[in-house]
């Protein structure tokens, strides 16, 4: 296969480098996976996407489909498995595509990369990309699935409330204190608004 979606393989690699920063093997794999998923969905399906990993696949989805994290059509549900699901937005019928470890026997570099059998420093990336291209869509598993009802349709956005501690608006229908101020998601160790004068 020498195309990824509407792009030539080379065009796709350039897009990957620009968006993702480097031509990661997982981004190439992801390109084939999206292609397979789309070809197994009825033409014209209005779909949402789920990535089962934070690595690479969210970026292939964002590059090759209309689904992004910020528009809410892509969600990461981290099962640690290298798989993605595209599914009809309202009914949930869809296609899950994963890399099938049982189909990797003829592809030593690919198998070593996928199962982390050799350290990254010993990885022959050129050969790996060749194997990925030669293997084409032959190393994946396609499952027809239905996504649970709790993931379907447009999520109703919560209302805006002022946090009783930081006084910032936050999305909630019920809470008085935002998840930062409760400590649940307090990711900062210090805050100094008066710090080195900045451009305002």
């Amino acid at each position: 296969m020498s195309t990824i979606g509407p792009y030539s393989f080379e065009q796709y690699l350039k897009m990957v480098e620009k968006f993702h920063g480097r031509v990661a093997p997982g981004m190439v794999t992801g390109g084939f996976m999206i292609d397979l998923a789309r070809r197994n969905l009825p033409e014209g399906t209005f779909f949402d996407a789920i990535s089962e990993t934070t690595s690479c696949l969210p970026d292939t989805i964002q590059l090759l489909t209309p689904c992004t994290i910020g528009n809410g059509w892509l969600r990461v549900i981290d099962t640690g498995r290298f798989a993605l699901t595209l599914f009809e937005k309202y009914g949930g019928e869809g296609v899950r595509v994963s890399l099938d470890v049982e189909k990797l026997e003829g592809w030593p570099e690919l198998k070593a990369w996928f199962l982390k059998l050799t350290p990254k420093s010993e990885q022959d990336t050129k050969r790996l990309l060749e194997e990925l291209q030669e293997a084409g869509s032959g190393i994946y598993r396609v499952e027809h699935v239905r996504v649970g009802p709790e993931y379907l349709g447009k999520q109703k956005k919560k209302n805006i409330r002022l946090c009783a501690r930081c006084r910032e608006p936050f999305r909630s229908d019920t809470e008085d204190i935002c998840p930062f101020c409760t400590g649940e998601r307090a990711y900062l160790s210090s805050v100094d608004e008066k710090g080195p004068a900045g451009v305002r």
Copy 2:
């Protein structure tokens, strides 16, 4: 202000439409926020990003910085607040930018949108975008912050194990069963690999 990063305002709106699907007000706001954050970071800082919301801001970050979800340099820590933080990758010193509700008095359409005071159907989007452009960088709050040590540096990727139930490889150093099979992240209500014959 008539530029967003290296782009004219109009160029940026086109990029937003292509990536995010529509010119959402939060994407425009986010453009100014990223600009402010970058101008308050020392030139050449090698930074990671945190978005405090899943709405819009992850997409502005992915469009205007090298940080994406799939390359691991962008993380969403959902506090429900409309804010983002860019911070030096290893030390954690950074800049948090939020929309400052106290600076919205002169901007009725903006205030109504941000606090959800009027239903979306009554929103004057054209006027809202004009107000956003006129207000420029004057409606934000910039804080000098330090990100907690647990969010710094490259995350070590876990090893690959075969799940004892689904037999798929998944990332874990300790578990025998993947979070899908334990039920913790079982987002599918049915799986039928034999379903309608697909293109393989």
